[in-house]
């Protein structure tokens, strides 16, 4: 597996056969603290990559930097051949790199359907001058609604489509957020803790949805604490600790990596590495 994804040995910052995202020297400091200090990393195209690490490792900050929601002190990264450093977040999304949030951001006072429609790109009716003339955008709106209906059916939210998003459960909101991100037709989707707060009954369907994304040709990068999920669906795992990338590799190998065990045991006793390597303390 390592050979299919990485060129040569799996080590921190190793080159990939077909990278979609390449980041160099990304540094982010808060006050005097270094939150993220990534020398080099490549994300493989068309694969599911997990970004793991103990609390405070800088995973979400790294996500924010890559997607333009935060600005680094220095660093460059290239997505799909396009330089992204300094590009505002909405343009990053338009280029096909779409993210979700750790704390779900369902737009509570819009209906589920309106949430979905909002995800669609290049809508004529979003121009203030065209907005007044329904005839300009009516047809596109119908197409958008059809796409939204398909996705809602797939995510089993179709029965809720006319409810306010505020009325959904935590897990349903996660699903809605993912479905809404798909409305943008992304090439790469970045999920920040997709399983957090999701009721176990929904877990399996969420995992299946993520695997489906790969089948459709999308690249998936996700931050997760749940090792069960990491082992079952990821093709590649990148481990961060204290802002740096400390290990990379296919999931089974990474779990055995002493650097990873150190990172978890050193900073976060309770993390379940899933391989009976819990701290004995």
């Amino acid at each position: 597996m390592a050979n299919e994804i990485a060129k040569g040995k799996a080590e921190p910052g190793c080159a990939k056969v077909d990278p979609i995202l390449v980041a160099d020297n990304v540094l982010r400091q808060f006050g005097g603290l270094t939150a993220v200090d990534v020398k080099h990393v490549e994300i493989p195209r068309g694969q599911i990559t997990a970004l793991i690490g103990p609390n405070g490792a800088g995973k979400t900050t790294f996500f924010n930097l890559l997607t333009g929601f935060d600005k680094p002190n220095s660093g460059t990264w290239v997505f799909n051949g396009k330089q992204l450093a300094g590009v505002p977040s909405y343009k990053v999304a338009r280029l096909g790199m779409v993210r979700t949030f750790q704390l779900t951001k369902a737009l509570s006072l819009l209906t589920v359907m309106e949430n979905m429609r909002l995800g669609s790109q290049n809508q004529k009716g979003e121009n203030p001058l065209a907005a007044m003339f329904r005839s300009v955008w009516r047809k596109q709106e119908q197409l958008v609604t059809e796409t939204a209906n398909e996705l809602l059916t797939r995510f089993k939210l179709d029965a809720k489509k006319d409810d306010f998003a505020a009325s959904l459960s935590g897990g349903q909101r996660k699903l809605l957020e993912m479905a809404r991100a798909l409305m943008t037709k992304p090439t790469m989707i970045m999920l920040d803790e997709p399983m957090a707060g999701v009721n176990p009954a929904l877990t399996q369907s969420l995992l299946d949805h993520i695997k489906d994304l790969k089948k459709e040709g999308m690249t998936v990068l996700f931050v997760e604490h749940d090792m069960h999920m990491v082992r079952h669906i990821s093709d590649w795992v990148i481990v961060m600790a204290e802002g740096k990338i400390v290990a990379e590799g296919p999931p089974k190998e990474v779990m055995k990596n002493p650097a990873v065990i150190d990172a978890y045991l050193g900073a976060h006793h309770d993390s379940d590495l899933g391989a009976k390597k819990k701290a004995g303390k």
């Binding site: 997607t67 929601f69 505002p88 977040s89 909405y90 343009k91 999304a93 338009r94 779409v98 993210r99 979700t100 949030f101 951001k105 369902a106 737009l107 509570s108 006072l109 819009l110 309106e114 429609r117 909002l118 995800g119 790109q121 809508q123 004529k124 009716g125 979003e126 121009n127 203030p128 065209a130 907005a131 007044m132 329904r134 955008w137 709106e141 306010f164 505020a166 957020e177 809404r180 991100a181 409305m183 943008t184």
Partner: protein, 323 residues
């Protein structure tokens, strides 16, 4: 007593009620639908009033004067929006209220007497408007709503504008554009992550709501002179009270809010005044009634925000305060 009631009900249709309704519709666009904390709606009204009055006094026709007012209003939106729309929302609140005061100081400075009329303000600018009055001289209406041909003309124009503005805003809000705007109100990062230029949409909303405020400013001064003192922070706070009274995230709310507000204010005024005259109320004088009604507005504003933030007509589900 009947006179007091008639005075109060007469407020239902005054151009002033219409002007406040228009300004509140603009504020609904800002705050109710986009979540922008604009505390300088008085600035937009001031810009409308002065740009319109100065243009017509300079000999321009009504249409160019209105276009110039709109242009000035858009410039104001850029001046307010560029430094603040990227920052946390309370910055917009402070900057807009500051900008409104700056503008009022500037137009009332005696150094600009020749341009803005300084503290005296401007008058005699509405002649063109009344010269195209299609109604023949005479008395119109009945009981509380008796008016001359000028009063009729200005009311017809003012309320037509209110209706057009309400239809316009409700159309905009139901469009995909309105969806983005409401999304921004809920969570702007989420909207950003979906590829929308949030900054640009906020600016568009600021401009549109501001233009409605500008139009309100024009309507406001048509039946009177332009006075810098009328465009203080009190004006903005009244508009907020009206908006919250009717429901911030509704289109009809600002209109009904304005009507209720002015009727109630006139009614309390009349009753207090009659009470003082007849000796029933002894603890205040006629001179102090104005202050009492301001206190009532303040208390009303507090109670509304605490106990019924969605307004009288707002849907509890469409609670719009977040954060």
């Amino acid at each position: 007593m009947e006179q007091i009631l008639a005075n109060a009900l007469g407020e239902l249709l005054t151009p002033m009620t219409a002007a406040y309704a228009l300004a509140a519709i603009g504020l609904a666009m800002h705050f109710g639908f986009t979540g922008l904390l604009n505390f300088g709606q008085a600035a937009y009204m001031l810009v409308g009033a002065y740009a319109f009055a100065m243009s017509t006094l300079a000999g321009l026709g009504l249409v160019p004067a209105i276009l110039i007012s709109f242009a000035a209003s858009i410039v104001l939106s850029f001046v307010l929006g560029i430094p603040t729309l990227r920052l946390r929302s309370d910055y917009l609140a402070i900057v807009t209220i500051a900008a409104a005061e700056i503008l009022r100081f500037i137009v009332s400075t005696t150094g600009l007497n020749d341009v803005t009329g300084g503290p005296q303000g401007l008058s005699g600018f509405a002649r063109d408007f009344y010269s195209i009055n299609p109604f023949p001289a005479g008395e119109y209406g009945f009981w509380a709503w008796t008016m001359d041909e000028k009063g009729l003309w200005v009311r017809v124009v003012a309320w037509s504008l209110v209706i057009i503005a309400a239809l316009f805003v409700s159309k905009m809000i139901r469009s995909p554009w309105g969806r983005v705007i409401k999304g921004i109100r809920e969570d702007e990062d989420a909207v950003r992550s979906l590829g929308k230029n949030v900054y640009s949409y906020k600016m568009q909303s600021l401009i549109i709501g501001g233009m409605l405020g500008t139009l309100a400013g024009i309507v406001f001064v048509l039946p009177r002179a332009v006075q810098p003192g009328n465009f203080g922070t009190g004006l903005t706070f009244f508009i907020w009270t009206i908006l919250l009274l009717g429901g911030a995230a509704t289109v009809l709310g600002p209109i009904i809010g304005s009507m209720i507000f002015w009727v109630l204010l006139s009614l309390t005024d009349g009753l207090l005044s009659a009470g003082v005259d007849s000796g029933v109320i002894t603890f205040i004088t006629q001179n102090q009634i104005g202050g009492i009604r301001f206190m009532l507005v303040g208390i009303g504003l507090m109670l509304l925000v605490i106990f019924r933030p969605q307004g009288i007509f707002g849907n509890k589900k469409e609670l719009y305060f977040n954060g």
